[in-house]
Chain length 204, copies 2
Protein backbone atom coordinates (compact mmCIF):
# COMPACT_ATOMS: atom_id res chain seq x y z
CA UNK A 1 0.00 0.00 0.00
CA UNK A 2 1.57 3.28 -1.07
CA UNK A 3 -0.67 5.97 0.34
CA UNK A 4 -1.98 5.44 3.83
CA UNK A 5 -0.83 8.68 5.40
CA UNK A 6 -3.50 11.15 6.40
CA UNK A 7 -4.62 13.33 3.51
CA UNK A 8 -6.19 16.11 5.56
CA UNK A 9 -7.26 19.10 3.52
CA UNK A 10 -8.94 19.95 0.26
CA UNK A 11 -8.55 18.07 -3.00
CA UNK A 12 -10.01 17.68 -6.45
CA UNK A 13 -11.08 14.83 -8.69
CA UNK A 14 -10.58 15.92 -12.31
CA UNK A 15 -13.66 15.88 -14.55
CA UNK A 16 -14.41 12.35 -15.84
CA UNK A 17 -11.63 10.84 -13.74
CA UNK A 18 -11.35 8.93 -10.48
CA UNK A 19 -9.35 9.30 -7.29
CA UNK A 20 -8.79 7.29 -4.12
CA UNK A 21 -8.41 9.24 -0.88
CA UNK A 22 -7.32 7.82 2.44
CA UNK A 23 -9.65 8.77 5.29
CA UNK A 24 -8.63 7.62 8.73
CA UNK A 25 -11.16 6.39 11.26
CA UNK A 26 -12.84 9.41 12.85
CA UNK A 27 -11.96 11.77 10.02
CA UNK A 28 -14.66 12.92 7.61
CA UNK A 29 -14.75 13.57 3.90
CA UNK A 30 -16.94 16.32 2.55
CA UNK A 31 -17.87 15.73 -1.12
CA UNK A 32 -18.87 18.98 -2.76
CA UNK A 33 -20.93 19.60 -5.87
CA UNK A 34 -19.06 22.63 -7.16
CA UNK A 35 -21.34 23.19 -10.18
CA UNK A 36 -24.51 21.48 -8.98
CA UNK A 37 -24.87 18.91 -11.74
CA UNK A 38 -22.11 16.34 -11.34
CA UNK A 39 -22.85 12.80 -10.13
CA UNK A 40 -20.09 11.25 -8.00
CA UNK A 41 -19.91 7.46 -8.07
CA UNK A 42 -18.37 6.60 -4.71
CA UNK A 43 -16.85 3.45 -3.20
CA UNK A 44 -15.07 2.69 0.05
CA UNK A 45 -12.56 -0.04 0.84
CA UNK A 46 -11.06 -1.09 4.17
CA UNK A 47 -7.56 0.40 3.93
CA UNK A 48 -6.03 -2.69 5.53
CA UNK A 49 -8.03 -5.28 3.59
CA UNK A 50 -9.79 -4.12 0.41
CA UNK A 51 -11.76 -7.39 0.25
CA UNK A 52 -13.97 -5.55 2.74
CA UNK A 53 -15.83 -2.96 0.72
CA UNK A 54 -18.85 -0.68 0.97
CA UNK A 55 -21.82 -2.76 -0.15
CA UNK A 56 -25.00 -1.17 -1.42
CA UNK A 57 -27.05 -4.35 -0.82
CA UNK A 58 -25.93 -4.57 2.83
CA UNK A 59 -26.40 -0.80 3.23
CA UNK A 60 -30.01 -1.03 2.00
CA UNK A 61 -30.57 -4.03 4.27
CA UNK A 62 -29.31 -2.33 7.43
CA UNK A 63 -31.03 1.02 6.82
CA UNK A 64 -34.22 -0.44 5.24
CA UNK A 65 -34.00 2.37 2.70
CA UNK A 66 -32.99 2.58 -0.98
CA UNK A 67 -31.01 5.78 -0.49
CA UNK A 68 -28.84 7.08 2.34
CA UNK A 69 -29.81 9.90 4.66
CA UNK A 70 -28.23 11.78 7.57
CA UNK A 71 -27.83 9.30 10.44
CA UNK A 72 -27.43 6.27 8.15
CA UNK A 73 -24.27 4.24 7.90
CA UNK A 74 -22.96 2.84 4.65
CA UNK A 75 -22.14 -0.77 5.50
CA UNK A 76 -19.46 -3.14 4.38
CA UNK A 77 -20.01 -6.58 2.91
CA UNK A 78 -19.17 -7.79 6.44
CA UNK A 79 -21.97 -5.62 7.87
CA UNK A 80 -19.66 -3.16 9.60
CA UNK A 81 -20.22 0.60 9.33
CA UNK A 82 -17.73 2.20 6.93
CA UNK A 83 -19.04 5.72 6.27
CA UNK A 84 -21.60 7.49 8.43
CA UNK A 85 -23.65 10.31 6.89
CA UNK A 86 -23.31 13.22 9.32
CA UNK A 87 -24.46 16.15 7.15
CA UNK A 88 -26.08 16.69 3.78
CA UNK A 89 -26.85 20.18 2.47
CA UNK A 90 -28.06 18.80 -0.89
CA UNK A 91 -31.71 17.81 -1.47
CA UNK A 92 -30.69 14.36 -0.21
CA UNK A 93 -31.20 12.64 -3.55
CA UNK A 94 -28.61 9.87 -3.93
CA UNK A 95 -28.83 6.58 -5.79
CA UNK A 96 -27.83 3.10 -4.63
CA UNK A 97 -29.54 1.16 -7.43
CA UNK A 98 -27.79 1.73 -10.73
CA UNK A 99 -24.45 0.37 -11.90
CA UNK A 100 -21.34 2.44 -12.35
CA UNK A 101 -21.04 3.12 -16.08
CA UNK A 102 -18.50 0.90 -17.80
CA UNK A 103 -16.88 0.30 -21.18
CA UNK A 104 -19.68 -1.98 -22.36
CA UNK A 105 -22.37 0.57 -21.47
CA UNK A 106 -20.76 3.16 -23.73
CA UNK A 107 -20.34 0.60 -26.51
CA UNK A 108 -24.08 -0.04 -26.24
CA UNK A 109 -24.68 3.71 -26.43
CA UNK A 110 -22.85 3.70 -29.76
CA UNK A 111 -19.32 4.77 -28.79
CA UNK A 112 -16.77 3.23 -31.13
CA UNK A 113 -13.60 4.45 -29.39
CA UNK A 114 -12.70 4.29 -25.72
CA UNK A 115 -14.99 6.33 -23.47
CA UNK A 116 -13.90 7.10 -19.94
CA UNK A 117 -16.17 5.41 -17.41
CA UNK A 118 -16.74 5.10 -13.66
CA UNK A 119 -15.69 1.44 -13.50
CA UNK A 120 -12.24 2.12 -14.96
CA UNK A 121 -12.01 5.32 -12.90
CA UNK A 122 -12.46 3.25 -9.75
CA UNK A 123 -9.72 0.79 -10.68
CA UNK A 124 -7.39 3.58 -11.82
CA UNK A 125 -7.96 5.49 -8.59
CA UNK A 126 -7.26 2.38 -6.52
CA UNK A 127 -4.14 1.59 -8.55
CA UNK A 128 -2.79 5.10 -7.88
CA UNK A 129 -3.17 4.28 -4.17
CA UNK A 130 -1.37 0.96 -4.62
CA UNK A 131 -4.51 -1.15 -4.31
CA UNK A 132 -6.37 -3.54 -6.59
CA UNK A 133 -9.62 -5.46 -6.34
CA UNK A 134 -10.74 -8.15 -8.80
CA UNK A 135 -14.28 -6.83 -9.32
CA UNK A 136 -16.35 -3.66 -9.26
CA UNK A 137 -18.77 -3.24 -6.37
CA UNK A 138 -21.97 -1.31 -6.93
CA UNK A 139 -21.37 2.36 -6.11
CA UNK A 140 -23.09 4.95 -3.97
CA UNK A 141 -24.08 7.40 -6.68
CA UNK A 142 -23.99 10.68 -4.81
CA UNK A 143 -26.31 13.43 -6.16
CA UNK A 144 -27.75 11.02 -8.79
CA UNK A 145 -31.51 11.40 -9.26
CA UNK A 146 -33.18 8.03 -9.86
CA UNK A 147 -36.76 7.96 -8.57
CA UNK A 148 -38.52 4.60 -8.17
CA UNK A 149 -42.21 4.51 -9.05
CA UNK A 150 -45.13 2.57 -7.60
CA UNK A 151 -44.97 0.07 -10.49
CA UNK A 152 -41.34 -0.71 -9.54
CA UNK A 153 -39.92 1.03 -12.61
CA UNK A 154 -37.27 3.72 -12.25
CA UNK A 155 -36.42 6.95 -14.06
CA UNK A 156 -33.22 8.88 -14.63
CA UNK A 157 -33.59 12.60 -13.92
CA UNK A 158 -31.25 15.56 -13.87
CA UNK A 159 -29.59 16.17 -10.46
CA UNK A 160 -31.38 18.65 -8.20
CA UNK A 161 -28.14 19.60 -6.46
CA UNK A 162 -27.30 23.31 -6.21
CA UNK A 163 -23.73 24.59 -6.62
CA UNK A 164 -21.88 24.23 -3.34
CA UNK A 165 -24.09 21.48 -1.91
CA UNK A 166 -22.16 18.80 -0.08
CA UNK A 167 -22.52 15.55 1.80
CA UNK A 168 -20.26 14.79 4.77
CA UNK A 169 -19.26 11.19 5.50
CA UNK A 170 -17.40 10.16 8.66
CA UNK A 171 -15.09 7.18 8.34
CA UNK A 172 -15.94 4.48 10.87
CA UNK A 173 -12.75 2.58 9.99
CA UNK A 174 -9.58 3.44 8.06
CA UNK A 175 -10.74 3.51 4.45
CA UNK A 176 -9.89 4.54 0.98
CA UNK A 177 -12.82 6.48 -0.45
CA UNK A 178 -12.79 6.28 -4.24
CA UNK A 179 -14.70 8.97 -6.13
CA UNK A 180 -15.43 9.10 -9.85
CA UNK A 181 -16.61 12.22 -11.60
CA UNK A 182 -19.10 10.33 -13.77
CA UNK A 183 -17.98 10.74 -17.40
CA UNK A 184 -21.51 10.29 -18.80
CA UNK A 185 -21.88 12.94 -21.53
CA UNK A 186 -24.44 11.20 -23.77
CA UNK A 187 -27.43 11.10 -21.40
CA UNK A 188 -28.41 13.94 -19.05
CA UNK A 189 -27.68 12.10 -15.79
CA UNK A 190 -25.06 14.81 -15.10
CA UNK A 191 -27.37 17.61 -16.21
CA UNK A 192 -25.87 19.36 -19.20
CA UNK A 193 -23.79 16.47 -20.59
CA UNK A 194 -20.59 18.08 -19.32
CA UNK A 195 -18.58 16.16 -16.72
CA UNK A 196 -17.11 18.51 -14.10
CA UNK A 197 -14.42 18.21 -11.48
CA UNK A 198 -15.43 17.18 -7.96
CA UNK A 199 -14.08 18.96 -4.91
CA UNK A 200 -13.65 17.30 -1.54
CA UNK A 201 -12.19 18.10 1.86
CA UNK A 202 -10.84 15.60 4.38
CA UNK A 203 -11.44 16.95 7.86
CA UNK A 204 -10.61 15.96 11.44
CA UNK B 1 -13.98 -27.00 -13.92
CA UNK B 2 -15.53 -30.29 -12.84
CA UNK B 3 -19.14 -30.11 -13.87
CA UNK B 4 -19.91 -28.60 -17.24
CA UNK B 5 -21.93 -31.45 -18.71
CA UNK B 6 -25.60 -30.79 -19.30
CA UNK B 7 -27.70 -31.43 -16.21
CA UNK B 8 -31.05 -31.83 -17.98
CA UNK B 9 -33.85 -32.95 -15.73
CA UNK B 10 -35.20 -32.31 -12.25
CA UNK B 11 -33.16 -31.64 -9.17
CA UNK B 12 -33.41 -30.42 -5.62
CA UNK B 13 -31.59 -27.93 -3.40
CA UNK B 14 -31.78 -29.17 0.20
CA UNK B 15 -33.38 -26.84 2.73
CA UNK B 16 -30.96 -24.13 3.91
CA UNK B 17 -28.27 -25.29 1.47
CA UNK B 18 -26.93 -24.15 -1.90
CA UNK B 19 -26.34 -25.81 -5.25
CA UNK B 20 -24.74 -24.84 -8.56
CA UNK B 21 -26.37 -26.19 -11.71
CA UNK B 22 -24.91 -26.01 -15.20
CA UNK B 23 -27.38 -24.62 -17.73
CA UNK B 24 -26.21 -24.52 -21.32
CA UNK B 25 -27.04 -21.64 -23.64
CA UNK B 26 -30.61 -22.12 -24.90
CA UNK B 27 -31.63 -24.40 -22.06
CA UNK B 28 -33.94 -23.12 -19.33
CA UNK B 29 -34.12 -23.63 -15.60
CA UNK B 30 -37.48 -23.68 -13.89
CA UNK B 31 -37.21 -22.78 -10.19
CA UNK B 32 -40.21 -24.08 -8.31
CA UNK B 33 -41.63 -22.99 -4.96
CA UNK B 34 -42.75 -26.39 -3.72
CA UNK B 35 -44.26 -25.10 -0.45
CA UNK B 36 -44.98 -21.52 -1.41
CA UNK B 37 -42.90 -19.77 1.24
CA UNK B 38 -39.24 -20.33 0.43
CA UNK B 39 -37.04 -17.51 -0.87
CA UNK B 40 -34.36 -18.62 -3.34
CA UNK B 41 -31.25 -16.42 -3.48
CA UNK B 42 -29.98 -16.92 -7.03
CA UNK B 43 -26.73 -16.10 -8.82
CA UNK B 44 -25.39 -16.87 -12.28
CA UNK B 45 -21.79 -17.11 -13.46
CA UNK B 46 -20.38 -17.46 -16.96
CA UNK B 47 -19.39 -21.16 -17.01
CA UNK B 48 -16.19 -20.37 -18.93
CA UNK B 49 -15.19 -17.30 -16.90
CA UNK B 50 -16.84 -16.78 -13.52
CA UNK B 51 -15.46 -13.24 -13.32
CA UNK B 52 -18.52 -12.50 -15.47
CA UNK B 53 -21.49 -12.75 -13.14
CA UNK B 54 -25.13 -11.77 -12.98
CA UNK B 55 -25.20 -8.21 -11.66
CA UNK B 56 -28.28 -6.75 -10.00
CA UNK B 57 -27.09 -3.17 -10.55
CA UNK B 58 -26.60 -3.72 -14.29
CA UNK B 59 -29.90 -5.66 -14.45
CA UNK B 60 -31.79 -2.75 -12.89
CA UNK B 61 -30.01 -0.34 -15.23
CA UNK B 62 -30.89 -2.22 -18.41
CA UNK B 63 -34.51 -2.97 -17.46
CA UNK B 64 -35.15 0.35 -15.64
CA UNK B 65 -36.95 -1.67 -13.00
CA UNK B 66 -36.14 -2.77 -9.43
CA UNK B 67 -37.50 -6.29 -9.96
CA UNK B 68 -37.46 -8.65 -12.93
CA UNK B 69 -40.52 -9.52 -15.00
CA UNK B 70 -41.32 -11.77 -17.98
CA UNK B 71 -39.42 -10.39 -20.97
CA UNK B 72 -36.58 -8.96 -18.90
CA UNK B 73 -33.02 -10.21 -19.07
CA UNK B 74 -30.79 -10.53 -16.04
CA UNK B 75 -27.55 -8.91 -17.14
CA UNK B 76 -23.92 -9.61 -16.42
CA UNK B 77 -21.41 -7.11 -15.09
CA UNK B 78 -20.31 -6.86 -18.74
CA UNK B 79 -23.87 -5.93 -19.75
CA UNK B 80 -24.57 -9.17 -21.59
CA UNK B 81 -27.84 -11.07 -21.08
CA UNK B 82 -27.32 -14.13 -18.87
CA UNK B 83 -30.82 -15.30 -17.90
CA UNK B 84 -34.00 -14.28 -19.71
CA UNK B 85 -37.30 -14.48 -17.83
CA UNK B 86 -39.63 -16.43 -20.13
CA UNK B 87 -42.41 -17.45 -17.73
CA UNK B 88 -43.50 -16.68 -14.18
CA UNK B 89 -46.56 -18.28 -12.62
CA UNK B 90 -45.87 -16.65 -9.23
CA UNK B 91 -47.26 -13.21 -8.32
CA UNK B 92 -44.07 -11.81 -9.85
CA UNK B 93 -42.68 -10.52 -6.58
CA UNK B 94 -38.89 -10.87 -6.59
CA UNK B 95 -36.25 -8.76 -4.89
CA UNK B 96 -33.02 -7.34 -6.32
CA UNK B 97 -32.27 -4.93 -3.45
CA UNK B 98 -31.29 -6.83 -0.32
CA UNK B 99 -28.08 -8.67 0.42
CA UNK B 100 -27.76 -12.40 0.67
CA UNK B 101 -27.73 -13.25 4.38
CA UNK B 102 -24.26 -13.96 5.71
CA UNK B 103 -22.45 -15.03 8.87
CA UNK B 104 -22.26 -11.48 10.23
CA UNK B 105 -25.99 -10.90 9.73
CA UNK B 106 -26.81 -13.88 11.95
CA UNK B 107 -24.26 -12.75 14.56
CA UNK B 108 -26.07 -9.40 14.62
CA UNK B 109 -29.37 -11.27 15.05
CA UNK B 110 -27.89 -12.87 18.18
CA UNK B 111 -26.69 -16.25 16.93
CA UNK B 112 -23.69 -17.43 18.92
CA UNK B 113 -22.88 -20.59 16.92
CA UNK B 114 -22.58 -20.99 13.17
CA UNK B 115 -25.80 -20.34 11.25
CA UNK B 116 -26.11 -21.50 7.68
CA UNK B 117 -26.42 -18.54 5.31
CA UNK B 118 -26.89 -17.72 1.64
CA UNK B 119 -23.39 -16.29 1.19
CA UNK B 120 -21.68 -19.48 2.32
CA UNK B 121 -24.26 -21.53 0.40
CA UNK B 122 -23.22 -19.75 -2.79
CA UNK B 123 -19.53 -20.41 -2.26
CA UNK B 124 -20.18 -24.04 -1.22
CA UNK B 125 -22.34 -24.60 -4.29
CA UNK B 126 -19.68 -23.12 -6.56
CA UNK B 127 -16.96 -25.20 -4.89
CA UNK B 128 -18.95 -28.38 -5.52
CA UNK B 129 -18.91 -27.39 -9.21
CA UNK B 130 -15.16 -26.77 -9.11
CA UNK B 131 -15.47 -22.98 -9.21
CA UNK B 132 -14.48 -20.18 -6.89
CA UNK B 133 -15.00 -16.42 -6.89
CA UNK B 134 -13.32 -13.99 -4.47
CA UNK B 135 -16.47 -12.07 -3.53
CA UNK B 136 -20.24 -12.40 -3.21
CA UNK B 137 -22.34 -10.60 -5.81
CA UNK B 138 -25.75 -9.31 -4.83
CA UNK B 139 -28.35 -12.01 -5.54
CA UNK B 140 -31.65 -12.16 -7.36
CA UNK B 141 -33.90 -13.04 -4.43
CA UNK B 142 -36.61 -15.05 -6.14
CA UNK B 143 -40.04 -14.98 -4.44
CA UNK B 144 -38.77 -12.49 -1.80
CA UNK B 145 -41.30 -9.81 -0.93
CA UNK B 146 -39.63 -6.43 -0.34
CA UNK B 147 -41.90 -3.52 -1.26
CA UNK B 148 -40.38 -0.05 -1.64
CA UNK B 149 -42.46 2.85 -0.38
CA UNK B 150 -42.88 6.42 -1.63
CA UNK B 151 -40.53 7.70 1.09
CA UNK B 152 -37.79 5.37 -0.24
CA UNK B 153 -37.97 3.03 2.74
CA UNK B 154 -38.51 -0.69 2.24
CA UNK B 155 -40.33 -3.43 4.12
CA UNK B 156 -39.84 -7.18 4.46
CA UNK B 157 -43.06 -9.13 3.96
CA UNK B 158 -43.94 -12.81 3.83
CA UNK B 159 -43.76 -14.31 0.31
CA UNK B 160 -47.03 -14.31 -1.64
CA UNK B 161 -45.97 -17.35 -3.65
CA UNK B 162 -48.40 -20.28 -3.82
CA UNK B 163 -47.20 -23.91 -3.68
CA UNK B 164 -46.11 -24.97 -7.16
CA UNK B 165 -45.46 -21.48 -8.48
CA UNK B 166 -42.35 -21.23 -10.63
CA UNK B 167 -40.21 -18.87 -12.62
CA UNK B 168 -38.54 -20.02 -15.85
CA UNK B 169 -35.18 -18.54 -16.85
CA UNK B 170 -33.57 -19.21 -20.23
CA UNK B 171 -29.77 -19.21 -20.31
CA UNK B 172 -28.41 -16.74 -22.86
CA UNK B 173 -24.89 -18.12 -22.40
CA UNK B 174 -23.45 -21.24 -20.76
CA UNK B 175 -23.84 -20.56 -17.06
CA UNK B 176 -23.77 -22.03 -13.64
CA UNK B 177 -26.92 -21.01 -11.83
CA UNK B 178 -26.37 -21.08 -8.08
CA UNK B 179 -29.44 -21.34 -5.87
CA UNK B 180 -29.62 -21.04 -2.10
CA UNK B 181 -32.61 -22.12 -0.07
CA UNK B 182 -32.43 -19.10 2.24
CA UNK B 183 -31.71 -20.42 5.76
CA UNK B 184 -33.35 -17.45 7.49
CA UNK B 185 -35.40 -18.92 10.36
CA UNK B 186 -35.35 -15.96 12.76
CA UNK B 187 -37.35 -13.43 10.72
CA UNK B 188 -40.41 -14.30 8.63
CA UNK B 189 -38.85 -13.57 5.22
CA UNK B 190 -39.46 -17.26 4.38
CA UNK B 191 -42.95 -17.22 5.85
CA UNK B 192 -43.12 -19.62 8.78
CA UNK B 193 -39.43 -19.54 9.80
CA UNK B 194 -38.87 -22.99 8.30
CA UNK B 195 -36.39 -23.25 5.40
CA UNK B 196 -37.62 -25.73 2.76
CA UNK B 197 -36.01 -27.54 -0.13
CA UNK B 198 -36.17 -25.93 -3.56
CA UNK B 199 -37.06 -27.91 -6.65
CA UNK B 200 -35.82 -27.06 -10.11
CA UNK B 201 -35.92 -28.54 -13.61
CA UNK B 202 -33.37 -27.93 -16.36
CA UNK B 203 -35.17 -28.11 -19.70
CA UNK B 204 -34.25 -27.97 -23.39
Amino acid sequence: MMTTASQIGPGMVPAAHGKAVHVARGQSIRIISLHGTQVVDTWAFNADDPSEFMSMDHTRSVNSRITVAVGDSCMSNRRRPMLHVTEDTSPGIHDTLLCPCNRQLYEQLGCTGYHRNCEDNMHEGLADAGLAVPFTPAALNIFMNVPVHADRTLSRLVPETKPGDFIRLRAEMDVFVVMSSCPQDITTINGDKTPREVHYVVEE
